[in-house]
């Protein structure tokens, strides 16, 4: 995937600041300098630090990023799957209220923040990307909610105490989907409510899913090949 949405147009400017140091505080300073606190369509009530068309990060190419030793900033975009799950949770707070929620592969934490706003007793955002972790902290603070962070690769681990798992847009690559889906199904078999937000990615399972809601999620042509992504919030079942 490229993060050079407008290769034809000249970049607005270089990324702001030196390459961030190896601390969360340094990454957060970088994020604040290179994103804008804004909202994404479909989710006016959740503030997020996002790459926008006026921020340098939007224009950054993978070459720019690699030169600074930065991984692709998935966390700086609110992907349709996560947004749909967030919308669904905000509109159906009973799914998470008073419960312990895991926002898996959380990115900027949009679904987890929605769960916290909907009254979850505890939200843990799992992310292995250090920049995503840093942005979750900023985004949680911007929304006045508490989000706990797990920075390990937890796929395959049992999740004692977790009652709901939110997973937005996790089926865009086969190796990742092949690892994640069996694990999530196992959790579902143990009684965990697993919500999967998916805008029609290639590797979403074909069976063992129950549709809960469909959303027309406005997206950017620069990131997706359509302006509107019809996105389904599925309940992943324990058996195929």
């Amino acid at each position: 995937m490229t993060f050079s949405p407008n290769l034809d147009s000249p970049p607005l400017g270089p990324l702001v600041g030196p390459p961030p140091g190896d601390t969360t505080a340094a990454r957060q300073a970088f994020i604040q300098a290179n994103t804008e606190l804004s909202t994404a369509p479909l989710l006016p009530e959740v503030a997020l630090h996002l790459a926008t068309q006026v921020t340098p990060l939007w224009e950054a190419t993978e070459v720019d990023l690699a030169a600074r030793d930065l991984p692709p900033p998935y966390w700086a975009f609110a992907w349709p799957g996560g947004r749909a799950v967030a919308r669904h949770v905000l509109d159906n707070p009973g799914l998470v209220a008073g419960r312990r929620v895991l926002d898996f592969a959380a990115g900027g934490g949009v679904a987890g923040i929605a769960a916290a706003k909907a009254g979850a007793a505890l939200v843990i955002a799992a992310e292995i990307d250090d920049f995503a972790v840093a942005s979750i902290g900023l985004n949680a603070a911007a929304n006045g909610v508490a989000i706990e962070v797990s920075r390990r690769d937890i796929v395959g681990d049992p999740m004692p105490g977790i009652q709901v798992v939110l997973a937005g847009d996790v089926c865009y690559e086969k190796p990742m989907a092949d690892r994640i889906i069996p694990w999530l199904r196992g959790l579902a078999r143990d009684g965990v409510l697993v919500l999967l937000g998916d805008p029609g990615r290639a590797y979403v399972p074909k069976t063992g899913l129950e549709p809960l809601a469909r959303y027309l999620v406005p997206t950017s042509l620069d990131l997706e090949d359509k302006e509107i992504r019809e996105t389904t919030v599925w309940r992943l079942l324990g058996t195929v």
């Binding site: 601390t23 969360t24 505080a25 008073g98 312990r100 916290a116 009254g119 979850a120 007793a121 505890l122 939200v123 843990i124 006045g144 909610v145 508490a146 706990e148 962070v149 797990s150 920075r151 937890i154 999740m159 004692p160 105490g161 977790i162």
Partner: protein, 306 residues
């Protein structure tokens, strides 16, 4: 140990705290289970006992009884935190901030933590039996609150109110220890303590770095939102009213009211200068309630001896 976690400020275990510098290695996990490196919780538990004891005493409060309350506060607060760490061990192990805690990091087993809990409860019991029978029963009744609080925090939007009921139980116990019964001043003091807790805990809830015995509970902060400051003014005004009423009903004189004004100014300073978005400031204001505790104690003692 998770060096990345501590370097990034993700862990709530402090590698530079006095426990890791001074305590014998074998004792460290237990001292951490009891949160002996974070004394503010103990102070907040202890002051209502001391206030109540002083309020019920003609003249100076008995120092031996004050020591008993101090030991009781340390052990019972430690027991509460140990229960919390035992109940939350699975979740604590998943969360970056809490995975270095003694149980999830494997420094102590659940069995060992349970044994330590029993030891703390026995010390608490040894303290309790120094008092009269009514106080012993009253003190034992507090266990119901101590052991249900970790559960209540998950099922109610107002866990702070429950926290207030628990943390201020000493306002009843102190009076009972001196008089052998309960009277209106002690009940008024208890009520004042509960609204005091609602106030300082709302300040506490606006910061999330210094987790103590809770996870994910920012509910009053969330619920009150931008209106937090106004609410805290209200809570603290009621605190003043309750303390004043308790003192007047107990027959305290003008010196009590004078020194209590200083305590009220401390509350006004807390909320007046409070910057909700500044994590450090939230912590400073929260911890400053120790000074409020001393001022109220000073006011009550002044009212009794001057």
């Amino acid at each position: 140990m998770t060096s990345a976690g501590s370097r990034d400020g993700f862990t709530d275990i402090r590698p530079d705290g006095w426990i890791d510098r001074l305590a014998p290695a074998a004792a460290r996990p237990y001292l951490k289970l009891a949160r002996l490196d974070r004394p503010i919780g103990t102070w907040l538990l202890l002051f209502p006992c001391w206030w109540s004891q002083a309020l019920a005493t003609q003249g100076w409060p008995d120092p031996w009884m004050m020591i008993l309350f101090a030991v009781g506060a340390v052990t019972m607060r430690g027991a509460g935190c140990t229960v919390n760490d035992i109940l939350d061990r699975d979740i604590d192990g998943m969360v970056e901030r809490t995975r270095s805690r003694p149980i999830p990091s494997g420094q102590v087993t659940v069995r060992q933590a349970l044994a330590f809990l029993v030891l703390q409860l026995l010390i608490g019991l040894a303290v309790l039996v120094q008092f009269n029978l009514f106080t012993i029963l009253l003190g034992a009744a507090s266990l119901v609150l101590v052991f249900t609080y970790p559960t209540m925090k998950r099922i109610t939007w107002w866990p702070q109110a429950f926290l207030g009921l628990t943390f201020n139980w000493g306002a009843l116990v102190g009076w009972a220890a001196v008089t052998g019964g309960l009277d209106l001043p002690a009940v008024l003091l208890y009520a004042a303590g509960i609204v005091w807790t609602l106030g300082y805990d709302t300040i506490y809830a606006h910061q999330d770095k210094e987790d103590d015995a809770r996870i994910g509970v920012k509910s009053t902060a969330l619920r009150l939102g931008d209106a937090s400051k106004i609410w805290i003014y209200g809570f603290y005004t009621l605190t003043y009213g309750g303390l004043l009423a308790a003192g007047l009903v107990a027959g305290l004189g003008i010196w009590f009211q004078m020194v209590l004004l200083a305590a009220v100014l401390q509350l006004a300073w807390q909320v007046g200068t409070w910057r909700p978005d500044d994590q450090m400031d939230c912590l400073v204001k929260f911890k400053s309630n120790r000074w409020f505790g001393w001022l109220v104690l000073g006011a009550i003692v002044a009212g009794r001896v001057l």
